[in-house]
Symmetry: C2
Subunit: 594 residues, 2 copies
Amino acid sequence: MPAAKKIVIIGGVAGGASAAARCRRLDEFAEILLLQSGPDVSFASCGMPYYIGGEIKDRAKLAVQTPASLRARLAIDVRVNVRVDAIDTAAKTVSARDERTGDTFDASYDDLVIAVGAAPFKPPVPGIDTRPGLFALRNLDDMDAITAWMLARIAAAGGDASAVHAVVAGAGFVGLEMVEQLMRRGLRVTLVEMLPQILAPIDEEMAAILQADLEKRGVRVITGDAIAEFRVAPGADPDATDVVLKSGLQLPAAQLTILGLGVRPDTAVVQAAGIACTPRGHVIVDDQLRTSVPGVWAVGDAIEVRNPALPGADERWAVPLAGPANRQGRMVADNIYGKARAYKGTWGASVVRCFDLTVACVGVTEKTLRARGLPYAAVHVHPGSHAGYYPGAAFINFKLLFDPARGRVYGAQSVGADGVEKRIDVIATAMQGGLTVEDLAELELCYAPPVGSAKDPVNLAGMAAQNVMDGLVTQLDWRDLAAAAADADTAVIDVRGAGEIAAAGALTEGAINIPLDDLRARIGEVPRGKRLVVSCASGQRAYYACRVLAQRGFARVDNLGGAYKTYAVMAARERAAAAAAAAATAPTANGDHK
Amino acid sequence: MPAAKKIVIIGGVAGGASAAARCRRLDEFAEILLLQSGPDVSFASCGMPYYIGGEIKDRAKLAVQTPASLRARLAIDVRVNVRVDAIDTAAKTVSARDERTGDTFDASYDDLVIAVGAAPFKPPVPGIDTRPGLFALRNLDDMDAITAWMLARIAAAGGDASAVHAVVAGAGFVGLEMVEQLMRRGLRVTLVEMLPQILAPIDEEMAAILQADLEKRGVRVITGDAIAEFRVAPGADPDATDVVLKSGLQLPAAQLTILGLGVRPDTAVVQAAGIACTPRGHVIVDDQLRTSVPGVWAVGDAIEVRNPALPGADERWAVPLAGPANRQGRMVADNIYGKARAYKGTWGASVVRCFDLTVACVGVTEKTLRARGLPYAAVHVHPGSHAGYYPGAAFINFKLLFDPARGRVYGAQSVGADGVEKRIDVIATAMQGGLTVEDLAELELCYAPPVGSAKDPVNLAGMAAQNVMDGLVTQLDWRDLAAAAADADTAVIDVRGAGEIAAAGALTEGAINIPLDDLRARIGEVPRGKRLVVSCASGQRAYYACRVLAQRGFARVDNLGGAYKTYAVMAARERAAAAAAAAATAPTANGDHK
């Protein structure tokens, strides 16, 4: 028998644990050493917010595997509370240290898997290391600390959770999950996001739907601002901190602050070992997940991967998601054992549930496409989650981004109460299969009234995109409606019913209301010689109207992209922002804090 | 301006209405004539069972469009209660008749769309045309008649719905939906299916899960039998009918019988016109949905389409589903207007919700693959609908069929309480994109604990299939377990925990129980020189055990396909069938009816 292969894996959460398990399946006799900092291995990091919020009650369930269970099932040498201090790629050894005892040891490897993950970003602002009640959420220790601190603050407030103010910095996936869970506990929550919108992986008009829902639930959402300082709160509560933003705004003293500002690859030791990393610190890997050094592989949040959603041949990005990390871990084991599987990239399929809404997306955003100057088109559809005649259907807000010349799908985003991630999973699969928007129009999906529609939202989005590609309709970007409405040579036609407009609100001042079903009879009321912008609630009737008008001699007819549903959300947001700005410039009682 | 194009569409439900609407979008000035038998057009036929059961309360919602709304919105000449008696393809005319007045009229066309649908099959058995309370469900008239009859029978029973016995003949999608809805109304329900299993579009071991659930709920399910006669029930109730089966079994007198025996294309007039049809009566169309006669197109339940799930170049089948009909309708309009779109075929993606279970499938079954002698393999996985540590996850029973040489996906079937059709939609999309089982293993899907798993059921099925393809594991078909267990040269190893076996039940007599985590330590207890069949609850731990055993010198080790979960369902079914057969041969009080 040849000597057993020695495999050392640094990091044992998603990618590292998957690599270890698959190595064992492939090689019963390998010596597999798994090194993990902190006391926990292979834990359910995605579940931690739900434990803090109390949705998950059994902490033991988050420890998917323990060192003991991994040893029993996989005969793996698991060492927790171990920090790797150095990698010697020439000698093929790692130097490690027990975090509790300080004892050091070396381990040699034939193959080394870097699965070190990424650490929460801590902005270098005053007070971040000294004020109490500031937490990031990386591991179960953090989770326990947050939970204990939160419960202690609630207890200190005599059990009145609403007297406890939490600030969540960063409106990404984890930040939003934490907002939901802290609200679930009854805390008062302020969400602060540096970008002009929450949830950067989707576009502003889609994020605005979620933001409006958060605000309706009482979350204070501040965008376009960031934490500048954590300061002693002058007052009775030593556990409260004044949070000061870059704009000068000072938030009410916070008893708890969660830093959800994204993550940075935890690769200092990797870089020190001469293993090639990007300027941002992500390990550079080839399609087989090999690093620049023979015998060293890397997976998970620490690596940069292909971005196959963009048309360039070697677009790359870093996407810290559990699914890709797990699959990379399995693949790296296959490749260590010579299977030469290629990792095709990460598509960014992701989802967050926040209260009753689910937000899911895949691929790249309109922001990204604009910034790169790529030709693209966007369609918005607003269908039901299932057949409208069956009870309980919820509206889905769905946006599809594509290349209008070739039909290539660039990405999709969806927000709604039901059936959201299902449609994004379908788009993600379609993108991975190279399907075009024409294929989406024709895509065959399961249908029964309780679970879908004969024309699925994915079909409808594909059909809308196909109509744009075929030139059956042209669109006006919702951002351009205000300017168009102010233009004397443009008429805005709203084809909703009058009762509908009265109930939901008018589109713009001066819009001409002709319900779709009356359009042919009242065509004389449509101004000739002007450019027409047509809208309805969701865009479907407006498309029908555009077809009528375009074929009846109106030379320039645009459908309002996203229709009233999109425009109204954004218009409300702008009004709220303007009101907030006006309030901010007005003198207030705590003006001295600014 | 050229003369307006004249388009006649026979049939205005899914395919016909879609064709009409799209024709109008493409051509504002076409003369579009839509002819529909019965009073309703463009109605939600898939919703009808839910109205009968009372889940849908508002009948008006099922009339998606009315003749008036189609006229108003689409300027279409809609004529209901019109039966087409003849098509003259040389003169390009149709002869039609008002079903109420008998008045006839002719209409000429440039393009004719056949969207006549399919009619419920009525078996030629005695009494079918004379006994009361026998219904099929094709249109809203049928729905109203069933509802009225059912409510009258409940009223006649003094409001005690459980005194009303309904027989549902045919355990396809509609039959199962009717079973659920009649049970919802409180009726006593017997389901009779000619095939040895319910729900032919999936395989027996998957269908058995649903059957067991139906029986648990009190539905009497009779498979492998069919209705032979509807006979006068001697007794006080003139509205009851004795239902006699081919086996001789006589069911308790039924006040209501629903014929859900599938559909036959309603193409007598089409065939009489010399338009080519298959021997079963389906209209033959090319990829552009043209019939054999120029200017005549066909869509929907009446046509035969490509079956792209099978490897042959020109495999065809007929799949009466609303989704394909709708998309064919839209496509035929595009093709009438010269867009030359190709219909690639119907994949059979379908779903039925029945009580708390959802069953979904796509592609072809193992039955079909066996019957054709195609090389295939099947894997069964039983993962949770979302992360196990987040509350509320339900087990999904998932079966994937594939070509073990090339990895081509042939089909998938899933049964479970949650997240079922989502996974089948993903597989359907993957099949339409030409993805292989290796791609499924690597497929990137949305994940957050409330909605999925880092390793999605689709990934797990793909990984299991990949392991089979790569020869990492071999499988024993669950049908062969009993024979293997009886073989002195085979040992069955059950790697579940002892407590688990005590709670759920033993696999087979004589199975050796060694929990997976003890396997290496207790390897001496595994008999050398025998073929080993390994099982656990779901198949995953057994796979791990197979890897341990195969690498530790056991020459022939098979994983039990489907594992205990599959085998137990089928074994229970066999025991129940044997008990029923024993009871049937025993003398009974009503033996004279046999």
